[in-house]
Symmetry: D2
Subunit: 480 residues, 4 copies
């Protein structure tokens, strides 16, 4: 065996700088178990199709199991000279079981093998991310129930707009996370397709069974088109785009937690265990976690654009540029998982300063809209009502008072049909309740109930996929 497994045609060894520049083993070792898993299934298929013997298959299976055992025990060292995870594993296999190792790469190329590894790896990660999304939703649902009747100002343009229940706020984030979860489940179907058997780009002259391998590995289907199988990275981009949206959601939540933690809002208090201090200012307690989460949004956006740039204008089929797909993917997975995971206890431990929230509702004329709606019920068109109340607000701003501080007579100067009933209208509690209860049914409770149902559906999907993965990995002696 020559130095490089592909070196037969070459008259010179690879330059050392090229080896460094070219090697992917420093990062693609992340997929070591998936690479081994794929080889288990590939060898089994070669045997089933009579391309290798049952005995050879047995040797390969055992050799691969020994390697995965060593990996788990931390007993292996990867080598730059072997370029990537595939060649590293093949070298180890050769050291372990001798020349029969050379049969494993029959009817396979690194082009389809690396695609296989990413498909296997990403589908597992998506399941784990959906699990975190579900847990975070459950955390928010618990908070929504707990704060069902806490009233705070709803904001538009960061100006106090109308009073809302805190539950509505948490449920808005549940709504976003549910779209994220649904989207990932849709993407999962496109991820869970087997490229193996496409070989370099057009299959092989061996009579292989691509469906058998796919079945062994729990795939939902195969890439029929072999050029597409080795050159497609849509499934990664879709995942990154979805992750960018999730991080964007978390950046919005982060922004609000940072605002609400400020001395000016003082709506919430983050637990000491989730904050850090300053090296110079002894009094500081900073909301570092939401700030970092907001900042990390940038790196996920960056990863998405890295991949989009990468693929722009690439001719078919495989090009080496594609090797650059993995680091942004792995970094995004880590960022997303870490951020979702830390948000669960951070939210669960935050203290809501509901008195401050309630107090904030009193300033800012948050009952102006219901007053206008009341005027409509008194006979005004909405346009007229809007204008009248606008003038009443301007009057109050000048007088530095609230709408409810005006006497009935004063109000009637603006619109004569206003009656004593207006007092009830202007009560903040009534305002919120009036917006909430429509058609004798609470909108917030309905929202809450439907979100919970959706989480249960997600949990069912999750259980199914987790079961599938455990079955596939354990079949070949690998821990999921």
């Amino acid at each position: 065996m020559s130095a490089k497994l592909w070196a037969g045609r070459f008259s010179k060894p690879t330059d050392a700088s090229v080896e460094q520049y070219n090697a992917s083993i420093t990062f693609d070792n992340t997929m070591v178990y998936e690479d081994i898993l794929g080889s288990h299934a590939h060898a089994a298929m070669l045997a089933k199709c009579g391309i290798i013997t049952a005995a050879e298959n047995e040797q390969l299976q055992q050799g691969l199991q020994q390697i995965s055992k060593k990996v788990t025990e931390g007993k292996i060292t990867f080598q730059i000279a072997d370029e990537d995870i595939h060649m590293n594993i093949e070298r180890m296999l050769h050291e372990s079981i001798g020349d029969v190792a050379g049969k494993l790469h029959t009817a396979r190329s690194r082009n389809d093998q690396v695609a296989l590894d990413i498909h296997l790896y990403l589908r597992k990660q998506i399941v784990e991310i959906v699990e975190l999304l579900t847990q975070l939703q459950n955390t928010l649902l618990t908070m929504a129930k707990e704060h069902r009747h806490v009233i705070l100002p709803g904001y538009t343009h960061l100006q106090r707009a109308q009073p809302i229940y805190l539950a509505q706020h948490w449920l808005a984030y549940v709504a976003m996370l549910q779209r994220d979860s649904t989207r990932l489940q849709e993407i999962w179907l496109r991820v869970n397709q087997s490229p193996l058997g496409a070989c370099a780009l057009t299959g092989t002259t061996f009579t292989t069974d691509r469906h058998y391998v796919a079945e062994q590995l729990g795939f939902d289907g195969i890439y029929l088109n072999t050029l597409d199988a080795v050159s497609d990275r849509d499934f990664i981009i879709e995942f990154l785009a979805s992750s960018a949206i999730t991080m964007m959601h978390l950046s919005r939540l982060s922004e609000e937690l940072i605002l609400w933690s400020s001395q000016e809002f003082n709506f919430i208090t983050l637990d000491d265990a989730f904050c850090t201090g300053s090296s110079i200012m002894p009094q500081k307690k900073n909301p570092d976690v939401p700030e970092l989460a907001r900042g990390k949004t940038g790196r996920v956006y960056g990863a998405l654009f890295t991949l989009l740039t990468l693929l722009k204008g690439l001719p078919l089929a495989y090009n080496k540029d594609l090797q650059e797909d993995k680091e942004p993917l792995f970094d995004t997975i880590k960022t997303l998982r870490d951020t979702l995971a830390i948000y669960i206890p951070l939210l669960a431990t935050l203290k809501v300063n509901s008195a401050n929230m309630r107090a904030a509702v009193n300033d800012g004329y948050l009952n102006a809209t219901v007053l206008a709606e009341y005027l409509v019920r008194c006979g005004a068109t909405f346009r007229v009502a809007h204008e009248v109340v606008g003038k009443m607000v301007a009057h109050c701003v000048a007088k530095k008072c609230r709408l409810e501080d005006l006497s009935l007579t004063e109000m009637q100067k603006f619109y004569p049909a206003i009656s004593e009933e207006v007092r009830q209208v202007l009560s903040i509690e009534n305002t919120v309740a009036a917006c909430d209860v429509k058609n004798h049914l609470s909108v917030v409770d309905t929202d809450l109930a439907q979100r919970e149902q959706q989480v249960q559906k997600d949990e069912a999907w999750l259980a199914a996929k987790q079961g599938l993965l455990v079955a596939v990995y354990t079949k070949f002696g690998l821990a999921k």
Copy 2:
């Protein structure tokens, strides 16, 4: 009525520069029909719920129809001072039917109205884009059938790799476009949700019927959470991300058409009607369309990044920043539609220079892999076979000959077990056919058949959605 419909509270008119900076009418007039459509349904709901009278509703319906008629006839002028499409339409309505126009905005805000318009507009555009994707797929399928047996080099790293059928190449693009189409159909479900009734951010004290409006407009559901309804732009980002992937696919196809049109490849000839010339070089015939398509990929990527940046760190609920969502969306829709549309005749008229393709297969040792696979059948492990053939290639490169030019004796010096059978192995036609036919079934034909089935499913989806849209628009006297 004061100058601005919201000006009651203000002591000064808006600065002229602010009016210019703030106004969205220069671009949101794109959604004029959707704005009118939404108002038809909203007025109908107000009447059904007893918030306005049947007579008032009738006036509003007729007034709106007059406006849409004028729009179609090109008889209206939008005004910057009215800020946006919503206020422009309301002003026209007031001019047309008087003060009752002021009742239309009851239980509605521009926050939910603009969201409604975008949902209505985008769902229609997605249907039209799926239609174009379907037509482009059909074009490629026709080409695949026509070029079923044309052989050309398959490339990896832009180096000739193994011979393939041209059909495989076109089908790879069909595979990409089918993922694009599927993804859009998934997104459609999230686009086709009604935000109307969320009002500014938390609904209204009027007893409205959000489901009735949604039904009138053919929506699949409503945004239960009102904060989410007015602040969600996920559905736009998802569409832009999907469009970015489609443009990336087209950039890859473009790159190949440009390469193949070069004097060096000379694999295809684009029709004169789809090329342009040079102002200085009289001989030039340039593949401008694929070049522009490749270039336009950038603007769609840019639009995606614009939206992601926009939403990063925005607190709930509506913020004015969101107004910036529309221009990138509209530009992307136009770019995507124009590019898909022009690719259909461009592909249909291109001439395949199959003789040049076939000739290119002869150089570059494209049968090296099948020779290695033959050696495996002779008893070598694949690793040994690979190395032996590598050395044979190096030998031929030095001798400037092909593998098939070596005598049997020469070959046997590299690997003694090679027999006369090798002649058949090295035939290019046999190579391609051997890769194609697996288990007595042609892979290419299977691929072709399954793609056609998928297109038929897409066409069924399309017909259903087109039917729905026609029904909704015509119900209110609007052309789709």
Copy 3:
């Protein structure tokens, strides 16, 4: 003359859809004066080099002047069929002066002509943007002087950190804008290079004088390398990157204005003329301009990414993809100019609520750091001092009091060496002044003075460049 000026070699007319897709006249007409200006200088050079006669030159010069006059009077119509601004102008010239118009394009290609136009256009725009940057700096400098002694909390992590002068805050933005201005002046040198004479990609066999044209047009030099001259778009990307940074600065300022306008902060009041209201909530006064400015950051980022994507992997020299460079550039120029321009009066009219700023300083233990520094002067290491004050703050948080509310005895329990002098230390006014005055020189005043000097330098640069441009444009009868 055939339909297309380059159509000699073609057997078919261009498809109508291709004409639409290909045409740039809908946006490159923005550079109409620059296109004409370049033609004036080119014709003059052709005459000087004896390639055309003096009489022909005279005809061309007059013909071009007639066209620019018509443009100013709004009397011309551009045609899609003429593709771009260059061919439109040439057609008009032919209509006006007959066949001699056909001599203008001698020794020139659209490849170098369009590059020339962009160089001419962008250098002019940069001058106008530097002018706006200078005005905005002057506005902020005026505010800094006016608010020289207004004290407010400085924030880190959006938590109150230490008291600062408002002047420091405004000067921080001046510092950013000065970097922006300096950078644009550096870029200007690379923009102000003439590509004309590179022709399609490699010059011409006519003996032209590239330096003469460059001199006529006020360029600082020429692109010596002709391949580079027609394919370089670095100068656009540099401008877009610089604009992205400027918009980022304005997004930070916008964020602060939005925060400070909230009811929670209430540090400033934006003028009514620079805010707008809500269509449903009569009390609302929204900071739309800063919100839009913050949102528009996204579109400038997007434009930068569009151009970077465009150029990735393009082989030399000119490719049609490059036509896509203009719309993002024009949109960025408009966005940047509009945003800078509107910020000048918006800032000049905002009202500072200095009492609220001052009040905010009292809460949040903003004197904790100076207390720690005092303990260092009492003999503690900074680490010990930090820990001691940290515990004092924790004690005060529990007691709900301020540091200055503790008695000397209480303080001495934490650190015995504390003496009565601590009272002065804890005074907020003293704190700020102590940070400001270093070495008998006020840091804020020094900062202010140096920024003013820098603005004066920028103004000198501006005057020089404006003078140059006026001279060049008027020489050929064009208004700058």
Copy 4:
């Protein structure tokens, strides 16, 4: 000393997950020498200003030297619990020299310290990148001289356009790299400014000497505005934008090397030492390095957008989000350095197949433009000449011959004034030479000479900056 150096005010330890999420030590240890360097200078300043004693300074200086020695010897371990490089070094210092270590952080915050470290680190890296840019330019200049007279087709739209010298091609890339180098030198001035002394955000009550520290560290100036000092990341974004442009240039060069290495072009042969093979196709020799370089463009673009996103909308002054600035910066530095470094030997060893280049010039009517220019000299306007030659080309395409294959009589049918002189005009060598020699001066030689002069200027800059850095680092016993 409590567990965290800032923990005095906290009632609970930091959650372990927060420690992980928050810690930057896993990547900011890259700047370990710069952190130590900054502390050396800071301690010296504290002593000079009488804030610590000379003896204490001596202890700190020696303690820091011991740590840097241990770092070089690989004898230190960083701890996650210490969060970042600053706290890790301070802890080590405390272990080494005891409580006096607690004096080092006087009049300093991590906010200004981390900014200092990045400024120090980046200025050093820029110098090293300018050095690589210079070397790469020298490589290309050598190639340009070597291939001074090799003729190949110049391309526009990837169609053969006009013949050019290979030297022109290499010089086009030198032109790009020179802009890159100039830009970095401009940025260096903005990087080489000291933020130290800004402390958390507004300086300190100690009378420090910011200019003295800056001088010790070889800075060109200080950030006068302290809020700006701790929150500015423009200098990183400018560097990333510049790097993105450089990578874009390399992606264009890469694209051309890939094209030229294809069997279709066959213009160059990359050295075996700079290519790799395929795991399945024994004949393959792939241009992996240019492909990877092209692909890595994406990650640098991604890094730029990460930072731009990060900073969008951040209020002043320091926010934790800023911690996310380092990984994209470090990754970009590595990518850029590795790619420039590997391109130097890759280019130096590539073989030019000049015969193939020359042969390619013969097909494609590359002399059509000079023929048109000849017709102008015969009296035609350029427009007429263009059309006539266009028709001649169309005639030749149909006849499958070259322009020079037409007889004089045939030519005269297209344009009667054509004379025997046309033979010389149509010679390719004459064409190139005619474009080259203008005004009795060879354009290519002038270009070459001016590029060499520019490289010499860059080398002078480089020597000056390298000298400065060596002086600064060795003063404090650190290797540069």
